[in-house]
C-alpha cells in the first residue's frame, strides 16, 4: 500500500543570483533535470553595480518537493540567496500581459469596455486591432484573457509573475 501523496501547493521563489553567463541555464537546468515544475519565470538585472539579477520562479509541488527546490537552488554556486516567498508570508504578486485583440464593430466596442473595466490600457490602436496592457495577479490576467477570447483575441504575451514580501521585509 502506498501512502496517499500529499497535496501540491503553488509557491513563488525569489532567487538572487550573480549576473554571470550561464546562471539562468543552471537554474532552469536544475528544474528540468530534477523534474520540478516551472509555472512561471521572470528574470532581470536588479542591481547592475553589484551585478545582481533576480529570478522569480513559480513552482507547484508537495511540501517536500518545495523544500527540495529551495535547498537545491542554494547549492548553485552563483546563487546568493533563495527565499520561498509563499512560505515566508504575505506577498504582493503581479504579472503583466500584452493582449492583441482583432475586431470591428460591436465586438471592438465591447473589447474596449471590458478593458476599461479590467483597468487594462490600450497601448496600440489601429483600425483592425488593439494591444492592451494589463497588470494584475496571474488569476486576473487569466480572467481578462478569457473575456477577450470571444472578442477577437489573436495574440498574448505574459511577463511571468513577480513577487515581493509585504511589509518592510526584504530578500
Amino acid at each position: 500500500m502506498n501512502a496517499p501523496s500529499p497535496a501540491t501547493q503553488r509557491h513563488v521563489f525569489s532567487v538572487l543570483v550573480n549576473d554571470e553567463p550561464g546562471v539562468l541555464a543552471r537554474v532552469i537546468g536544475l528544474f528540468s533535470g530534477r523534474g520540478y515544475n516551472i509555472e512561471s519565470l521572470a528574470v532581470a538585472i536588479v542591481d547592475a553595480e553589484r551585478s545582481l539579477s533576480r529570478i522569480t520562479v513559480v513552482s507547484i509541488g508537495t511540501p517536500q518537493i518545495l523544500e527540495q527546490i529551495e535547498a537545491q537552488l542554494n547549492r548553485i554556486v552563483p546563487v546568493r540567496k533563495v527565499v520561498d516567498l509563499t512560505r515566508q508570508g504575505a506577498t504582493v504578486e503581479r504579472e503583466m500581459a500584452l493582449v492583441k485583440v482583432n475586431g470591428s464593430g460591436a465586438s471592438r466596442m465591447e473589447a474596449l469596455k471590458v478593458a476599461e473595466a479590467a483597468h487594462a490600457k490600450a497601448k496600440d490602436a489601429s483600425p483592425e486591432a488593439f494591444i492592451f496592457e494589463i497588470t494584475g495577479t496571474a488569476g486576473e490576467i487569466d480572467n481578462f484573457i478569457n473575456l477577450m477570447k470571444p472578442l477577437g483575441l489573436i495574440e498574448t504575451v505574459r511577463s511571468g509573475v513577480l513577487g515581493l514580501a509585504r511589509g518592510n521585509k526584504t530578500v
Binding site: M1, P21, G22, A71, R75, V77
Partner: protein, 583 residues
C-alpha cells in the same frame, strides 16, 4: 606578475599543491602541455582515454583525501570525461578538470573539436567556468580548488579557450583569492546536537548508519566515529561508500546495509528505534521500499549538504555540518552529560541482532571442484590480510561480493563507483591509487565484462610502471544483468552473455604486463600469492562458477524484511509488480 595563460595554469596547480595530473593532449590544450614540458614539479600521467583520466584522478583523490586533477582537450576530450565527472559528482569526489576549448573567436561556430563543454558538464559538475580572459584564470583556478574540495566535495570543470592559454595575464596567489559565494556550514547547530544526543541516549534499539560523508570528512572523523560507537556500545552499519570508516572486523559492525547488505544490517535498519545517519543520503539502494523504510525509528541525519535532508526520507533531527565536526560535537555532548547506554535494553537488542547474525546471510555452497566467486574473494581477503592493501572495484556482482567479503579496517582503502555504478571504473582508479601509494598493494576486483570497458588503461599502467593487480572474477556473464533477468524477466538472457571473450592471460602479456589464471580451487591460493609478488601490472583470470548469484538481495520494490537469501530456491516471484520498473 605577467605570464601566459598556460603558465598561470601551471603556477596555480603548483600553488595548490598538485603533484600529479592525469590527462591526454590535443590541439586545444597544446600550450598547456608545452608549459608542462618546461617544468618538473607536476608529473603528468598520460592515460589512453580521457574517461580513464577522470577515474584515475578519482582513485588518487579517494585514496589520499586530496583533490584529483585532470587535463583534457576540447570536444571529444571533454565529452569522454563526462562519465567520470558524473561518477565523481554522485560519489562526492573532489576533481578539478581542465578542458581545452577552441579560441574565443571561434566559439559557437561549430569549429573543429568544438563542443559546448560548460553546457554539457553543467549538470554533472558542482560548478564550471568558461574563462574568457587570462586575467581571470588564476582566480578561477583557486576558486575551483576551493569549491571542489570543500563542503560536499565534487568535480568542477574549467574550460579554457586556446587563445586564453597563449595570451598574457596577471597571476594572483591563492592567499589573495576570497570565496565570498561559497562558504559551506561545517559546525552543527548546538540545539540540534543536544536533541540528537538525548535521542541517542534514550534509545533502546539504536543503530549507526554511516556513509561516504565520514570518509570525505577525513581520518579524524573516522576516529571520532569509532570513539562514539565504542562509548555507546551501539551497532553500526555502513553504506557501500562508507566502508572502512569503521573497522569491518569489529564486533559492533553489522556489515554493509542495503540491497546486497547483510541480513542483520537490514533487519536492524527496519527494527531500530533510533537511527543515527552520519554522512549517508538514504540512497534507494539502501532504503528499499520507501514507504516501509525503518518505520519505527526516530531519525537523526548529519549531512553537510542541506539538500540531502528530507530529500527522500523525512527525518526528526537534521544536523547540517561536516561529519567529523558534528561527530566531535556529539561525542563531547555525550561525555559532558555523562550519558550511559541503557544496558538492559541494549543487551536485549544485541541478542536480537545476534539471532539475525546467526543466519549467516553471506554463506554459500562450497565446492572443491569449481571456484565459487565468494571463495575467491575470501581467499583474496585472507591472503592479503596484514598487507598494506588498497582495493578498487568495477561494477556488478563481483563488486557486491567484494563489499561483502573483504576486510576494510581503514578509510581511503576502498574505491568503488557507488552512485553512478560505472563499469570500467576500477582499473583507472587503481592506477590513481598506485601513483599515490607506490609501495602498496593495489588490487582492482573486476568482472570480465567491466574490465573490458577501460582495458586500454593497462597500457597506462605499463608505461608508468604501476604494478596494479586486476583480479577478474570471470563468469563469462554480465552477472548482475543476468541475475535481474532471472529475477524479473523469466530467465530470458537477453544479451547478457559475453561470447568471444579475450584470453586475459595473453591480453595482459600483449600489453607488457603479467597474466595468470586460476581454474580450480586448488590453484587459487598459489595464483593469488604469485600475483601479490609481481612488480608489473598483472591480470589474474579467476574462472569461477558461472551460475552463482549474489545474495542476500532485497528485490526492487521490497522492504528490508523481504530479503532473498542464498538458499531460497525460487527467485522468479520475488519482485512485486510495482518493483519491475525500478532499476
Amino acid at each position: 606578475m605577467r605570464m601566459t595563460g598556460a603558465e598561470i595554469i601551471i603556477k596555480a596547480l603548483r600553488d595548490q599543491g598538485v603533484e600529479i595530473i592525469f590527462g591526454y593532449p590535443g590541439g586545444a590544450v597544446l600550450p598547456i602541455y608545452d608549459a608542462l614540458f618546461k617544468q618538473n614539479d607536476i608529473r603528468h600521467i598520460l592515460v589512453r582515454q580521457e574517461g580513464g583520466a577522470v577515474h584515475a584522478a578519482e582513485g588518487y583523490a579517494r585514496s589520499t583525501g586530496k583533490v584529483g586533477c585532470v587535463l583534457v582537450t576540447s570536444g571529444p576530450g571533454a565529452t569522454n570525461a563526462v562519465t567520470g565527472l558524473t561518477d565523481a559528482l554522485l560519489d562526492s569526489i573532489p576533481i578539478v578538470c581542465l578542458t581545452g576549448q577552441v579560441p574565443t573567436h571561434l566559439i559557437g561556430n561549430d569549429a573543429f573539436q568544438e563542443c559546448d563543454t560548460t553546457g554539457i558538464t553543467r549538470p554533472c559538475t558542482k560548478h564550471n567556468w568558461l574563462v574568457k580572459t587570462p586575467d581571470q584564470l588564476a582566480r578561477v583556478m583557486h576558486e575551483a580548488f576551493h569549491i571542489a574540495g570543500s563542503g560536499r566535495p565534487g568535480p568542477v570543470v574549467i574550460d579554457i579557450p586556446k587563445d586564453v592559454q597563449l595570451a598574457e595575464g596577471d597571476y594572483v596567489p591563492p592567499s589573495m583569492v576570497e570565496h565570498p559565494l561559497y562558504q559551506p556550514k561545517t559546525v552543527g547547530d548546538e540545539k540540534a546536537v543536544q536533541r540528537a544526543v538525548e535521542l541517542i541516549a534514550d534509545a533502546e534499539r539504536p543503530l549507526f548508519y554511516t556513509g561516504g560523508g565520514v570518509i570525505n570528512s577525513g581520518r579524524r572523523a573516522c576516529e571520532t566515529l569509532q570513539k562514539l560507537v565504542k562509548a555507546t556500545g551501539y551497532p553500526i552499519t555502513s553504506t557501500l561508500m562508507g566502508l572502512g570508516a569503521y573497522p569491518s572486523t569489529d564486533g559492533q559492525y553489522l556489515g554493509m546495509v542495503g540491497m546486497h547488505g547483510s541480513y542483520e544490517s537490514n533487519l536492524s535498519m527496519y527494527n531500530c528505534d533510533v537511527m543515527i545517519n552520519i554522512g549517508a543520503r538514504f540512497d534507494d539502494r539502501v532504503t528499499g521500499k520507501l514507504s516501509e523504510f525503518s518505520p519505527k525509528s526516530k531519525k537523526i541525519h548529519v549531512d553537510i549538504d542541506a539538500s540531502s535532508i528530507n530529500k527522500t526520507v523525512v527525518v526528526d533531527v537534521p544536523i547540517i555540518g561536516d561529519a567529523g565536526t558534528v561527530l566531535d560535537q556529539i561525542l563531547k555532548e555525550w561525555q559532558a552529560k555523562g550519558h550511559r547506554p541503557d544496558k538492559e535494553a541494549l543487551s536485549k537488542w544485541w541478542s536480537q541482532i545476534n539471532q539475525w547474525r546467526a543466519r549467516k546471510s553471506f554463506s554459500y555452497k562450497k565446492s572443491d571442484k569449481i571456484i565459487k566467486p565468494q571463495y575467491a574473494l575470501e581467499r583474496l581477503r585472507d591472503l592479503t590480510r596484514g598487507h598494506d592493501t588498497y582495493f578498487t572495484t568495477e561494477v556488478g556482482q563481483h563488486q557486491m561480493w567484494a563489499a561483502q567479503f573483504l576486510e576494510l579496517n581503514e578509510p581511503h582503502r576502498w574505491m568503488t563507483s557507488g552512485g553512478l555504478g560505472t563499469m570500467g571504473y576500477g582499473l583507472p582508479a587503481a592506477i590513481g591509487v598506485q601513483l599515490a601509494h607506490p609501495k602498496s598493494l593495489v588490487i582492482d576486483v573486476a568482472g570480465e565484462a567491466s574490465i573490458l570497458m577501460n582495458i586500454q588503461e593497462m597500457s597506462t599502467a605499463v608505461q608508468h610502471q604501476l604494478p596494479v593487480k586486476v583480479f577478474i572474477i570471470n563468469n563469462q556473464w554480465m552477472g548482475m544483468v543476468r541475475q535481474w533477468q532471472e529475477l524479473i524477466h523469466g530467465g530470458r538472457y537477453s544479451q547478457s552473455y559475453t561470447a568471444a571473450l579475450p584470453d586475459f592471460v595473453k591480453l595482459a602479456e600483449a600489453f607488457g604486463g603479467i597474466g595468470m589464471r586460476a581454474e580450480t580451487p586448488a590453484e587459487l591460493d598459489g595464483v593469488i600469492k604469485e600475483m601479490m609478488k609481481t612488480d608489473k601490472p598483472t591480470i589474474v583470470d579467476v574462472c569461477v562458477d558461472q551460475k552463482e548469484n549474489c545474495y542476500p538481495m532485497i528485490p526492487g520494490g521490497r522492504a528490508h524484511y523481504e530479503m532473498i537469501l542464498g538458499d531460497d530456491q525460487d527467485i522468479s516471484t520475488a519482485t512485486p509488480d510495482e518493483g519491475l520498473v525500478l532499476v
